[in-house]
């Protein structure tokens, strides 16, 4: 089952899927590398689940091609494609035990009984569920149910595992634990994962590659670092939390530096990087709140982007404090996340006048 170098495990070529009144998947193309976790990230209604179901075979596409291992699978029904799905609701069979659930797919493929027993035992161990075999899903905790659902699919050794927001129903703490679990399991098994989520933090945590979708279209594909540090469009910047967005026109660009004059007259500087599509127009610059430094007003410091203003809002968030600074004369609000580490020198108060600044490396160029 080894994949030749360079051949993507899953590929979509210009796929279009329409429902009455809406184009759910609009000219989507991407390649999923073998053995990695590839996430489809976006708000609800963006088409990520539909895309997943197109790969799984539960929906038929209108145009384009879906390829698995370089073979077009458009007309191949779901149960004949070599992929397995973990559903959002998990869909564990309530009338069967954990063992019977996990064995289900193997039995349908007519595996011999001892082989089934072996594989089920292995799976239980891998998922740290040994001893739970004879229980029913209703007797398990949320996390345990997740693992049974994963085991049920993985035991079939599919080429690709499709996961549709599998952790959506878990509380925050459990979800973080399970995210680590998912990564661990994937690395042990080595199977390609196609993962759908609406949670940016989750995607950043577990993915090797993220594809951000909005309104049926693919907005950007990249590593978590790329998506976070250099979001390409306003939508992605906002979605990933880079909430300081300056829309405007590029006025000068010498070398790799880009200067933008925002609509409200501020001058912002950013640095180009390889992700910029040269042919598209630059429409703005964004910066993450935690990259914005807040200093005392009369601090003498050289910085690419430096503005003065008053702290209009402060909100304690535990590990950081969110501050909203109203910039002088223009009235725009810049959001900054200031760490609450004990050795922080400056402590600010509401209404105080401060200096906000960040370097060109922290800015991200947005294209239209």
């Amino acid at each position: 089952m080894e994949n030749r170098e360079g051949i993507p495990c899953v590929e979509l070529r210009n796929v279009i899927k329409r429902f009455p009144g809406v184009t759910a998947v609009d000219h989507v193309s991407f390649k999923v590398e073998q053995g990695k976790i590839f996430s489809l990230l976006g708000p609800s209604g963006c088409g990520k689940t539909t895309t997943l179901r197109l790969v799984a075979g539960f929906e038929t596409l209108d145009e384009g091609d879906v390829l698995i291992d370089n073979k077009v699978v458009n007309d191949i029904p779901a149960h004949k494609r070599n992929c397995s799905t973990v559903f959002q609701t998990l869909a564990l069979f309530p009338h069967m035990t954990v063992e019977e659930n996990i064995a289900y797919g193997l039995e349908r493929r007519k595996f011999p009984k001892d082989e089934i027993k072996n594989r089920v035992g292995e799976a239980l161990e891998l998922m740290q569920l040994s001893g739970m075999g004879k229980r029913r899903p209703s007797q398990l905790s949320g996390g345990q149910r997740q693992r049974v659902a994963l085991a049920r699919s993985l035991v079939l050794r599919p080429r690709i595992l499709l996961l549709d927001e599998p952790l959506a129903s878990l509380d925050r703490k459990l979800r973080k634990e399970m995210q680590t679990e998912v990564r661990r399991i994937q690395q042990e098994v080595g199977i390609t994962f196609l993962y759908v989520t609406h949670d940016q933090k989750e995607a950043l945590n577990i993915s090797d590659t993220i594809a951000v979708m909005a309104k049926g279209r693919l907005e950007q594909v990249g590593t978590p670092n790329e998506i976070y540090e250099t979001p390409r469009t306003m939508f992605i910047a906002d979605f990933m939390g880079a909430t300081n967005i300056f829309l405007g026109k590029a006025i000068a660009s010498g070398g790799r530096e880009v200067q933008l004059e925002s609509e409200d007259g501020l001058r912002v500087i950013a640095l180009e990087n390889k992700n910029i599509i040269r042919s598209r127009e630059i429409v703005g610059i964004s910066v993450h709140p935690e990259r914005v430094d807040v200093l005392a007003e009369n601090t003498d410091l050289e910085a690419d982007n430096k503005f003065r203003g008053k702290i209009a809002e402060m909100s304690y968030q535990g590990d950081f404090t969110e501050m909203k600074i109203c910039v002088d004369q223009v009235g725009r609000v810049i959001t900054a996340h200031v760490s609450n580490e004990p050795d922080q020198k400056a402590r600010f108060s509401l209404g105080e006048r401060v200096l906000v600044c960040w370097g060109r490396h922290s800015s991200s160029i947005l294209v239209g």
Binding site: A78, H79, T85, F87, F93, P94, H95, Y104, L156
Partner: protein
């Protein structure tokens, strides 16, 4: 007096349900339980030569059921109950499944179209069926006039007609609980089953049927019990040739006036019905009770 009022007030507070539950409980005991008890009592008596009740307990009526014509009738009732049940299942399950899974927006309309006929007068519906299958009825008229047969075929007054009539009358009551069960089935379970490689047939056997068996058993119990005690269908569609247990009961109670004999048969039917309910709940699970009630 104050003591009594206090005691009543305290009783009402502890048993606050009494004013609501009491009257109907009393009514039920009086007009549901007691009559069944009376039947049981009478079934153990016998009739003297002048038709009067002989007040000595005997099992003669029950023993008489196992011989001759009576045994035949009882067995026939059981056979019909079983046979029509199978037919209703074979027809009713696919229909209920189709409406629930493929009905879409028309689901409610479709299921109503199944149920509405059973809301119209039972007697009239059987009469309508009878006129269709008779010698001068629609079916024979069509067959004769298109020269497929030379003389009218006997549909009416045959066991087939009785089975037809029972299925015709009670099919909706098999469809409804099955529909409810299929409808409440989690669709993602079926998708998961398919995703894991099950063919539609395997999906039916391993997932759909086990999860809908509550509804299936509920429908089965209902049709079986009703068919067992049928009287009108064998009367109208079977004539004198196809007698069932219900006809015997009516015969003894109303025409002949032999109450002990009729009571014995009624009690036997009741006993079988209760046995069927018990077995159904045992095999189908507690859910069956909820679906029936």
């Amino acid at each position: 007096m104050a003591g009594l009022r206090q005691r009543v007030a305290r009783l009402l507070m502890k048993q606050a349900h009494l004013p609501y539950v009491g009257p109907v409980a009393l009514w039920t005991f009086l007009f549901v339980i007691a009559p069944l008890g009376i039947i049981l009592y009478f079934s153990l008596l016998s009739v003297g030569p002048l038709g009067q009740i002989v007040p000595s307990l005997t099992l003669r009526n029950y023993l008489g059921l196992f011989e001759g014509a009576y045994a035949v009738i009882l067995l026939r009732s059981l056979a019909f109950a079983f046979g029509t049940n199978v037919i209703c299942l074979l027809i009713g399950f696919p229909l209920a499944y189709w409406i629930a899974r493929c009905g879409g927006r028309w689901k409610t309309t479709l299921i109503f179209l199944v149920i509405i006929p059973s809301w119209t007068c039972y007697l009239i519906r059987l009469y309508a069926l009878k006129t269709i299958i008779g010698h001068t009825g629609l079916i024979n008229s069509i067959l004769l006039s298109s020269n497929l047969i030379s003389s009218p075929i006997d549909i009416l007054y045959t066991p087939f007609a009785v089975m037809l009539g029972i299925v015709y009358s009670w099919l909706p009551f098999m469809v409804l609980p099955i529909y409810a069960a299929v409808e409440s089935l989690d669709a993602t379970l079926l998708e998961a089953s398919e995703d894991l490689g099950a063919t539609p047939f395997q999906r039916l056997i391993t997932v759909t049927l086990p999860l809908t068996k509550g509804g299936i058993f509920a429908g089965t119990i209902f049709v079986f019990i009703i068919a067992l005690g049928e009287w009108l269908v064998p009367l109208l569609l079977g004539g004198a040739k196809v007698m069932m247990a219900g006809n015997l009961v009516e015969h003894y109670f109303i025409r002949v006036g032999n109450i002990p004999a009729g009571s014995a048969i009624a009690a036997t039917i009741t006993a079988i019905a209760l046995l069927v309910v018990y077995l159904g709940i045992k095999l189908g699970g507690q859910e069956v009770l909820e679906r029936v009630t």
